[in-house]
């Protein structure tokens, strides 16, 4: 007796419509149809749940029309009113992973319907969304479908029933920054001895508490000739031209801005502001130089302490922005800075 209703999201490939050449396939709702991986999911529901509709969308279509696609899908899910929403699994398909993460997070947040997805841990969608929705760790290819649905189906049932969700290692989802207690088979001291034996033998072991991510960057050697150096400003403090023309998000930024400050000597209350939602913006809005010190660098330019201030600055909001996104932004604009002959960058935060 199936009483839990599921809506399932998949891409054009898993719907057997086609590969890359069909990636622009628009959003399609198939009511009452179970498609592709939906079959395996249904089997693993063991009669407790049924897929009442499948939503199919091409990966390019989704990623190139993200707002439109998201709105269309949300409308469809809302109308179907399922108990749980499942996207994927996406394995190692990057754009599919990002689509699954985006839409699962949106369904959960905007419609309040519990959602989950699954993908390979190195899929870019994993880092972006694993802390927002339950994300089952899968193998890196569709050959891992059987394992993936074996974990996703029971987790979906638990979510639909509102049952407590166990620790990540029990349920198979990726660690999501929420620590959950559970009882191990062995006591802690025995686990420590076993871990030590593995570590001594250089065998792989899994720490029970990964230390916070330390991504330390060795500083470059000091700039020798500051007086002839071209200095650029980059900030995660969210300073943007008044009105935030590129709509940089106040948190979890999805993009960065590039703005020309040719001839700008001072950032004023009328011309610049912060888009950042993670700190009291009053002082930054009063005088954005407090976060992005254009005024001081113009003085130094005049005094000959630095060669020149680069005419473009790069900005985003650091507030809750995924490390993977921040890295991607920097990878891109660092190339531009290098191409523009910038010698050094002053990076300001808040």
């Amino acid at each position: 007796m199936a009483n839990i209703k599921v809506v399932h999201y998949i891409n054009q490939f898993f719907a057997q419509i086609g590969g890359e050449e069909k990636a622009d396939y628009p959003v399609e709702l198939r009511k009452g149809e179970v498609v592709g991986p939906g079959m395996a999911l249904t089997q693993n529901f063991k009669g407790e749940a049924e897929i009442i509709a499948t939503i199919i969308c091409g990966d390019s279509y989704f990623n190139e029309n993200i707002d439109k696609a998201k709105a269309e899908i949300l409308d469809m899910v809302k109308e179907q009113a399922p108990d749980v929403f499942i996207a994927g699994p996406a394995f190692n398909a990057g754009r599919y992973g990002v689509a699954c993460g985006t839409i699962a997070a949106a369904v959960q947040e905007e419609l309040g319907i519990p959602s989950l997805t699954g993908m390979y841990v190195e899929n870019p969608g994993a880092d972006m969304f694993k802390n927002q929705v339950y994300m089952v760790a899968t193998k890196n290819s569709a050959a891992g479908m059987r394992d993936a649905v074996k974990k996703m189906a029971p987790l979906a049932l638990k979510l639909a029933k509102g049952e407590p969700i166990g620790a990540s290692c029990q349920e198979g989802y990726m660690p999501n920054g929420v620590r959950v207690n559970f009882f191990e088979e062995e006591r802690g001291s025995k686990r420590a001895v076993d871990m030590l034996i593995k570590k001594l033998a250089d065998k792989p072991f899994t720490t029970e508490f990964p230390m916070p991510d330390f991504d330390r960057v060795e500083p470059n050697p000091a700039v020798k000739d500051l007086a002839h150096a071209k200095i650029a400003l980059v900030t995660s403090g969210g300073i943007v031209p008044k009105g935030n023309p590129d709509h940089i998000e106040s948190s979890s930024a999805s993009h960065y801005g590039e703005y020309d400050i040719t001839g700008v000597m001072d950032l004023t209350e009328d011309t610049y502001e912060t888009a950042h939602g993670g700190y009291d913006p009053v002082y930054a809005n009063e005088d954005a130089d407090r976060v992005l010190p254009v005024d001081v660098l113009r003085d130094m330019e005049k005094e000959g302490i630095i060669g020149e201030l680069h005419h473009l600055f790069y900005t985003t909001t650091g507030n809750g922005t995924a490390v993977a996104s921040a890295k991607a932004f920097a990878d891109e604009f660092s190339q531009k800075l290098k191409a523009d002959g910038v010698d050094a960058v002053i990076l300001t935060s808040t």
């Binding site: 686990r191 420590a192 030590l196």
Partner: protein
């Protein structure tokens, strides 16, 4: 050093006119144990009670838990420098009363903590719901200072445990375990191909209610040193610590240190268990530097390949743990650390108050902030007056139906950082 540890299984405890152990039943003369407790004039009165696994009983506020033992052969006596005279222990023959414990309770300070539930969900978390407990609640004389009261209760517990242990002196153990370590040279010759490992135990040592004693010496005042792992089995380390109920080490945990036991289980097989290194967790940062320098130095001098480091307490000791780990790893010694977490009620906060990439092998005793509902139990030994004031208890603590909403941190031993329990977190 070689120690034979004889296990005497206690299946029941009963009050009786004469104290004795017969057919696995511990008969306790209330009069006799009261007299032992009241030897200290700072204790005005004491009451004894028995709590058995499965009974609807809550014990609180717990100060210490002690396993009665007696030294039947070899040098020294149980609790050297505290009850027995100072002499090196850890060799010969010792009997332990298994399956039971002496639990001391009493309000030393107004915010004291420590709950043992003998049944219900709380019992799943505290290891002392599984022991037959002889509970003693000590009332001090009027106008006593807290540190005198703490000391009086601490010693009263050891005296009573020693008295009970003596009852087993002429019995035949139900089971005997043998623990043996070798000298440095002997070990190298005997186990030439096995990695050399040690246990580094951090002892709580910050001040009143936060102290530990080694052969009677306040651990604040020690520099890191080496014990034979069998010494703790004779009570070489005792607890003077009664804050942070979930992750302090009661004396029972020192006597039955699970890291020592589980390392012995692999001694001569997966590795050579060379030594038990002890260090402290002082408040003063330069002391931390010195102590962690020394533990790393000792690891190097002992030519170790690996160590397990255990922690005790919250906050300040996280810094010692990370310093020890970092410096020992820097000596090329592979390190596994055991800790617990304060990740907030929602599990989303940063668990530790310090961190380092060198700490890549961590065992956790779970998130002490996890909320648990403890149902009303029929009987309270001690007093509930202070339950609403113990760490992790909040104003909504006491529900109308008599149940308590608390964090795991109030339960004695719940997130123990020597790996005493199966609780973990991811």
């Amino acid at each position: 050093m070689r120690l034979e540890l004889g296990h005497i299984y206690i299946k029941d405890i009963q009050f009786a006119s004469e104290s004795k152990i017969e057919n696995g039943v511990l008969y306790v003369s209330e009069e006799a144990v009261k007299a032992v407790a009241l030897e200290d004039e700072k204790i005005k009165s004491v009451s004894f009670d028995i709590a058995k696994p499965g009974e609807s009983v809550r014990i609180t506020p717990v100060k210490d838990v002690i396993e009665p033992r007696v030294k039947v052969e070899g040098r020294g006596g149980i609790f050297p420098g505290v009850i027995a005279k100072v002499d090196t222990v850890g060799s010969g023959k010792t009997y332990a009363l298994k399956g039971m414990a002496v639990v001391t309770a009493g309000k030393i300070v107004g915010f004291q903590e420590g709950i043992i539930d003998m049944t219900g969900p709380g019992a799943d978390y505290t290891p002392f719901s599984k022991t037959l407990n002889l509970v003693m609640v000590c009332e001090p004389v009027d106008d006593i200072k807290q540190h005198d009261y703490e000391k009086a209760v601490r010693f009263a517990g050891f005296r009573v445990a020693t008295y009970l242990g003596e009852l087993a002196r002429n019995l035949t153990p139900d089971e005997t375990k043998v623990y043996e370590t070798c000298g440095i040279k002997e070990g190298i010759e005997k186990y030439p191909d096995l990695p050399r490992v040690a246990y580094v135990q951090m002892l709580q040592s910050q001040g009143l209610l936060h102290d530990t004693y080694v052969y009677g010496v306040d651990a604040k005042k020690i520099v890191p040193t080496i014990l034979s792992p069998t010494e703790v089995m004779d009570g070489a380390i005792v607890s003077g610590n009664c804050v942070s109920a979930c992750d302090k080490n009661p004396t029972y945990v020192h006597e039955n240190n699970p890291v020592v036991e589980d390392m012995f289980a692999q001694h001569g097989k997966a590795f050579n268990f060379v030594a038990h290194i002890i260090t402290n967790e002082n408040v003063y940062l330069a002391d931390k530097m010195r102590s962690s320098d020394w533990t790393a130095k000792l690891c190097r001098m002992l030519d170790l390949d690996g160590v397990i480091v255990s922690q005790e307490g919250f906050g300040n000791p996280d810094t010692d743990l990370i310093m020890n780990c970092k410096k020992i790893e820097a000596e090329g010694v592979k390190t596994v650390i055991i800790t617990d977490e304060y990740a907030g009620r929602d599990g989303k906060s940063q668990s530790l108050a310090d961190s380092d990439p060198a700490a890549d092998a961590v065992v956790t005793g779970g998130n002490a902030n996890q909320v648990i509902i403890l149902p009303k139990l029929d009987k309270v030994i001690g007093t509930l007056d202070y339950v609403t004031k113990i760490a992790g208890a909040s104003e909504e603590t006491l529900h109308e139906d008599g149940s308590l909403e608390v964090e795991l941190q109030v339960l004695t031993g719940a997130t123990n950082e020597t790996g005493f329990n199966r609780l973990s977190a991811r």
